[in-house]
């Protein structure tokens, strides 16, 4: 148990370090590429009796476990069921000033590609603003707009499109 706590401290420290270098300034350095974000270590929750002892971002009982927010067609409005999710992430960031998150916006394939990049950024900005309302500071969040370029579902109907209109909250150090 104690060992795990040390591990967690180490994890947060590395998060803090990553946070420092990540979102500095207006201009991006060309060496700023972050790799392995999608295939980073995945921790799993360990129930100790009734007490959750895993990473808070993975607690299945917490809204923090939800990291994808879905949107209606051509809309960047957050639907009511995601308000608590975003509020929880905002509060988590406010309580952990060393943690940073990438707010990655996506669109479905309909319409033109660069317009969809802008539409996906608008979605990401909406979520980013809600995070800061909860006390997350500006240097803890970065909005990235990927448009329709990275679909999670590749079909050409609403069942795929609804999965692709999304904002993903990505904790790079997690």
């Amino acid at each position: 148990m104690k060992m795990y706590k040390n591990l967690l401290t180490g994890l947060l420290l590395s998060t803090a370090l990553a946070g420092c270098s990540m979102f500095g300034g207006d201009e991006q350095s060309s060496e700023g590429a972050m790799s392995g974000m999608h295939d980073g270590a995945q921790t799993s929750g360990m129930m100790d009796g009734n007490k959750y002892t895993g990473h808070p971002l993975d607690n299945p009982a917490s809204p923090l476990a939800t990291k994808i927010i879905y949107f209606a067609f051509d809309s960047s409005a957050v639907e009511p069921q995601y308000e608590a999710v975003i509020a929880a992430h905002g509060a988590y960031l406010a309580a952990n000033s060393g943690v940073s998150v990438i707010v990655e916006g996506h669109a479905d394939e309909r319409g033109t590609r660069e317009y969809n990049v802008a539409l996906s950024e608008r979605r990401a900005n909406t979520v980013q603003n809600l995070l800061s309302l909860q006390g997350a500071s500006a240097n803890q969040t970065e909005a990235v707009a990927l448009g329709e370029e990275k679909p999670v579902a590749v079909g050409h109907d609403e069942s795929s499109w609804s999965l692709n209109r999304r904002v993903e909250l990505i904790y790079p150090a997690h």
Binding site: E27, A33, Y115, H156
Partner: protein, 432 residues
């Protein structure tokens, strides 16, 4: 040959097995009744020692047919195969219903240099319309064939041929492990000789040609965020534009090659900026709180059209390159986006939504008259041929994204298939 030629002609290309997976196959899905009959006789090879690496007459014939303006006589129907004017019996070609005849030969100059000679005849008048002797190497006979196609096309239609041009496009493939590979490729206008100029595991988009045709600018997410790169085709060397927080996208070259219009969101919402290539400075052109993106320069360099949802839905607007009030261009329909000027500046091609389906349409700038040219569900990225005759675009064949082309009058349609992956965002090169 009447009315329409449907799924009639499939032109495959002789290619090396290594390049097989990346070859584009062009299929003409709709032709025109008014196509002119032309006979292109196989060129005589005067080299006794070796066969020519390409079939020049076949390349010319394929080029002309692909334009939709010509139909070509099968070699099997030719009564004889003349290679010099004295051998031509015009009555034979008249009897076969041909309007025009092309003959030619390749002469070996013994010093390793070749000369390609061709003549174009009017079969009914019995006279030569044009003819050239073109010096060539064995390695550039394909390019010479396209130049001959350009000369024939211009003589017979009055419009400059675009067979010697190229196209750039984005491909996307996924391997069995789910790993993505994105590329920009550049191929001849007939799909031959595709070469990859950049490969990435993260998305690449929005390739656009410099006006001199020597560089391609594009957007790459290789550093997780978008950045604009300009790459010199000959050397492969590339330069990253200074990038900003947020969107760095939608590059479009000014006709004189000194400026790039692009989209940045560093000051809040997506807006159009002008980057001066010489002074390396950025100037903000639009300031709306809405999305402004997808800029395109008018051929005279004075105006920029762009997509904006400042009125609630995406529509096309036009603004002076010096700034000022933008004027709305499109009113018909609830979705008009990504406009590209025709080479004469009179029309724009754009994505136009009709009943929930995204199609390529042209709009005449003077009158606002819209013509819908395609009938797909997810058509996008229109790009004019430099002579204005055709518009390349991407469409979905039900499974994946493929390239297609439509004549600017909507009468001729083609599909260009690449084996094994998605192909999108075609960009037709300028004339060299």
């Amino acid at each position: 040959m009447k009315r329409m030629i449907r799924a009639a002609l499939i032109l495959t290309f002789l290619i090396s097995s290594a390049a097989l997976s990346e070859a584009l196959k062009i299929e003409i899905t709709q032709g025109v009744s008014s196509a002119q009959p032309i006979a292109v006789v196989p060129f005589l090879n005067t080299q006794s020692t070796s066969a020519l690496p390409v079939d020049i007459a076949q390349i010319i014939s394929d080029d002309l047919v692909r334009s939709g303006r010509f139909k070509s006589l099968s070699r099997f129907d030719m009564l004889n195969k003349p290679s010099s004017a004295e051998q031509v019996n015009f009555r034979n070609w008249q009897a076969l219903g041909q309007d025009n005849l092309v003959i030619g030969k390749v002469i070996d100059n013994a010093n390793g240099q070749l000369t390609v000679q061709f003549q174009l005849f009017d079969v009914y008048k019995g006279e030569q319309l044009t003819g050239f002797s073109i010096p060539a190497n064995r390695s550039d006979l394909r390019a010479v064939a396209h130049r001959i196609s350009d000369l024939i096309y211009e003589k017979l239609t009055g419009q400059k041929g675009a067979f010697s041009t190229r196209m750039a496009y984005v491909t996307s493939m996924q391997d069995l492990n789910g790993q993505h590979e994105y590329k920009i490729q550049v191929a001849d206008a007939d799909g031959f000789g595709a070469k990859t100029i950049v490969t990435s595991s993260e998305p690449i988009m929005s390739p656009t040609w410099s006006p001199a045709g020597d560089k391609i600018s594009y957007v790459s997410f290789e550093q997780r965020r978008s950045s604009i790169y300009t790459q010199t085709l000959k050397t492969g060397a590339r330069e990253k534009l200074r990038s900003f927080k947020g969107i760095n996208g939608a590059p479009s070259w000014s006709p004189d090659g000194t400026q790039l219009a692009l989209t940045l969101s560093k000051d809040g919402s997506a807006d159009i900026y002008i980057y001066n290539v010489i002074t390396r400075s950025f100037r903000r052109l639009t300031t709306s709180y809405a999305i402004d993106t997808e800029p395109d320069w008018s051929p005279d360099g004075r105006q920029i059209v762009f997509t904006s949802d400042r009125g609630g839905k995406p529509q096309i607007y036009r603004v002076s390159v010096n700034g000022g009030q933008a004027a709305r261009v499109t009113y018909e329909g609830s979705y008009n986006a990504r406009a590209r000027h025709s080479p004469d500046g009179k029309n724009i091609a754009m994505v136009h939504r009709v009943n929930g389906q995204y199609r390529i349409a042209t709009l005449e700038l003077k009158t606002g008259f819209i013509s819908i040219l395609t009938d797909g569900k997810l058509d996008e990225s229109p790009s004019y041929a430099p002579n204005g005759s055709m518009i390349l675009y991407s469409t979905n064949d039900g499974l994946k994204s493929i390239l297609a082309a439509v004549s600017s009058d909507g009468k001729v349609r083609q599909k260009l298939r690449l084996q094994g992956g998605e192909v999108r965002e075609p960009a037709w090169s300028p004339f060299k």
